[in-house]
């Protein structure tokens, strides 16, 4: 099993479906992170299932090349519970949104949490109904102006973390779409937890609710407006780690460190407390009064639903022998409904509803700022970069020769091509580091064929520069081959090239700003 799992790569998890989220939607970042993290978790692909309800986020299962179920509105948690009870070996992920799980599916969410079924729930919270074109949701703050609340909504919003804690959830965490490293850590922790893991992900809907979570994601603001929860550590935040949260009675207060305030005066986080009061208090730290906590609020052990159910099943069979479904159905009062007694056919009533006056007057113009020149650059084609030509070898080159070639020209990698010059693999210093170093291999006898990364992710010259950086910064690819339409390498992008490119962009700037 371990062998099967180790060969899984990000590419194996990418499906052939066209991704239909709006350009720039935060859902993309979550998908990318899931495809990055899952191969590291040692789960076989045939054991992974993604279950969703209805909403933008619920398209997720189509884009994962795993088993998936796109179910009924609000009922993903319910279907997932059945699945997990029937086959406890599966690794089940519920993908849902604030509409799906906190409106129509609110009840189902509460009960899956309370039952502690061993599955992972990711709630993409964009504080809006995206799929139905921008009505306020249960997490939209009061006063939110939308098509369905033209004068501002008058409803108290839900705090997803508080709801989960009140429903007795055993693992509760929060992360944000744009903090990719943090999201990866939280996804791993959620998988490791035995019991229901509930993860709220602040997700930007750039079409209907752009910027709802910018306080927690903007590079210049996030360190002062969020606090990272770390078990057994004091609550310290701020770009310079100079602020903290202290308790004054039962009320949290923000204090600056120094001037008599020491780290030991601050509230220390403990995610393992059985009493959820501490976690609940943290969940009430909200923007803008407090820095908003990101991380694991609560992680405690409790018996798992499906394990207890199957124990009872086994016990019943041991004590009373295998059951008989027919006998069960006929054991109590049963009766037959005679033919011809079906309900009266309902007459359909069509009533014209006047549409004038009910559609509020909301500015249709795209409220977002026009792209800056740097942003625009990320949409420019890769062909506008000055990329070095790659060094290509054939798959039967020995590792010794390959090392020689890399040393001679001081290269970080070689591209492996077939007879017609098409890209087949990449052989990088990283492969030497991971697969050769410390092992007793005959470098003259071993060919790069056995050690290279096969069919590596490559981009075309017409693809946008942003995608290069996507693969580099999210997936950590140091080298990305650029190929022509026939798959022949024409360039090689690397971390270093991108740094030189950036250095060049700012070359003429001498003083700040």
């Amino acid at each position: 099993m371990a062998d099967v799992v180790e060969t899984l790569t990000r590419k194996d998890l990418v499906s052939d479906q066209e991704v239909r989220w709006c350009p720039g939607c935060g859902d993309y970042a979550i998908l990318a992170q899931m495809q990055r993290v899952l191969p590291e978790l040692g789960i076989a692909r045939e054991d992974m299932v993604f279950v969703s309800g209805i909403g933008c986020s619920s398209r997720f299962p189509y884009y994962m090349n795993t088993y998936g179920l796109h179910t009924i509105h609000g009922r993903a948690a319910t279907v997932a519970t059945g699945l997990k009870v029937a086959n406890p070996d599966l690794q089940v992920w519920v993908i849902t949104g604030d509409g799906d799980s906190l409106s129509i599916g609110g009840n189902h969410l509460l009960h899956v949490l309370r039952r502690n079924v061993n599955l992972n729930i990711l709630l993409f919270n964009n504080a809006i109904y995206g799929l139905t074109k921008g009505q306020y949701s249960p997490t939209s703050p009061p006063g939110t102006r939308t098509y369905s609340s033209p004068m501002g909504s008058v409803e108290q919003d839900f705090n997803a973390i508080s709801v989960a804690l009140a429903a007795e959830a055993t693992f509760v965490a929060r992360t944000v779409d744009r903090n990719t490293k943090h999201m990866a850590e939280i996804l791993k922790r959620a998988t490791e937890h035995r019991g229901t893991s509930f993860v709220e992900i602040y997700q930007n809907c750039n079409i209907y609710n752009d910027g709802a979570w910018f306080f927690a994601t903007q590079a210049d603001a996030k360190d002062d407006q969020t606090v990272l929860l770390e078990h057994d550590q004091p609550l310290i935040f701020g770009k310079d780690h100079d602020k903290g949260i202290r308790l004054k009675g039962l009320a949290p207060e923000v204090v600056s460190l120094g001037n008599g305030v020491r780290e030991s005066d601050l509230l220390t986080h403990d995610e393992t407390l059985d009493n959820p009061a501490h976690a609940y208090l943290l969940s009430r730290l909200t923007h803008p009064e407090y820095p908003v906590p990101l991380g694991v609020f609560r992680c405690v052990d409790r018996p798992i639903y499906e394990e207890q159910v199957s124990t009872q099943g086994r016990q019943a069979v041991e004590e009373r022998g295998p059951g008989d479904l027919y006998a069960l159905y006929h054991a109590a009062d049963t009766w037959i409904v005679p033919e011809g007694s079906d309900a009266e056919t309902l007459q359909e009533v069509h009533e014209e509803i006047p549409t004038s006056n009910i559609i509020p007057d909301i500015d249709e113009e795209d409220p977002r700022a026009p792209r800056t020149s740097l942003q625009q650059l990320l949409y420019d084609p890769i062909s506008s970069l000055d990329l070095p030509a790659p060094e290509c070898v054939s798959a039967d080159t020995s590792v010794a020769e390959a090392i020689q070639a890399m040393r001679a020209k001081n290269l970080g990698c070689l591209l492996v091509v077939d007879k017609r010059g098409r890209l087949r693999g990449i052989f990088a210093q990283g492969d030497l580091f991971e697969k050769v170093a410390g092992r007793d291999l005959d470098l003259h006898q071993t060919t790069v064929d056995g050690l290279m990364t096969r069919e590596p992710t490559a981009l075309k010259t017409s693809d946008p520069i942003g995608h290069l950086l996507h693969l580099m910064s999210l997936h950590g690819f140091r080298h990305i081959p650029i190929v022509d339409p026939d798959g022949r390498p024409v360039g090689l992008a690397s971390f270093k090239v991108m740094l030189q490119f950036t250095g060049g962009l700012f070359a003429n700037e001498i003083s700040p700003n």
Binding site: P23, D440, L499
Partner: protein, 155 residues
């Protein structure tokens, strides 16, 4: 959140400097490599009584270790690059980018004013820092560029 002003105002201590492991100068090369592989770090800072005395990277493995099994049981001291160049933690990122773009070294130890090691600056960490400024254009992309939706609303 303007990248240019961030790069001019933020310093190397504001990027993720955690991509390294620490080893002692008398550790055998094989053990150092195993530690690097286990934590997937391609850079080891070699220490002696809390002081940085050398650096050893994946690059050194490719250049000086592969094909020479006898090296594996020798102390790292003999194979590392001794007295490596270091960067000061108050170097601005724009200066760091210029430096790293021209510099042949992929990994640069970062020290504070008292000479204490804070971590290692890598190309990756700078790219990640810059990408963080453009989440919508860089992170929120489909798995492959041809899957890109060109209009709003995926419904």
């Amino acid at each position: 959140m303007n990248l240019s002003s961030s790069l001019h105002n933020d310093t190397v201590k504001h990027v993720d400097l955690s991509f390294y492991v620490e080893v002692e100068k008398d550790h055998p090369v094989g053990r150092v490599i195993a530690k690097m592989q286990a934590s997937q770090r391609k850079c080891a800072l070699v220490m002696n009584r809390g002081k940085l005395v050398g650096i050893f990277t994946a690059h050194d493995i490719a250049r000086r270790v592969l094909g020479q099994t006898e090296v594996l049981c020798q102390p790292i001291e003999a194979t590392m690059t001794p007295d490596p160049l270091t960067l000061q933690s108050d170097l601005t990122l724009i200066e760091a980018i210029r430096f790293m773009g021209d510099n042949p070294h992929r990994y640069m130890p970062v020290v504070d004013a008292d000479g204490r090691v804070l971590g290692t600056l890598t190309h990756y960490a700078i790219i990640k820092y810059m990408s963080d400024h453009f989440p919508e254009e860089i992170y929120n992309l489909p798995p492959t560029p041809d899957h890109f939706a060109h209009a709003r609303d995926g419904a």
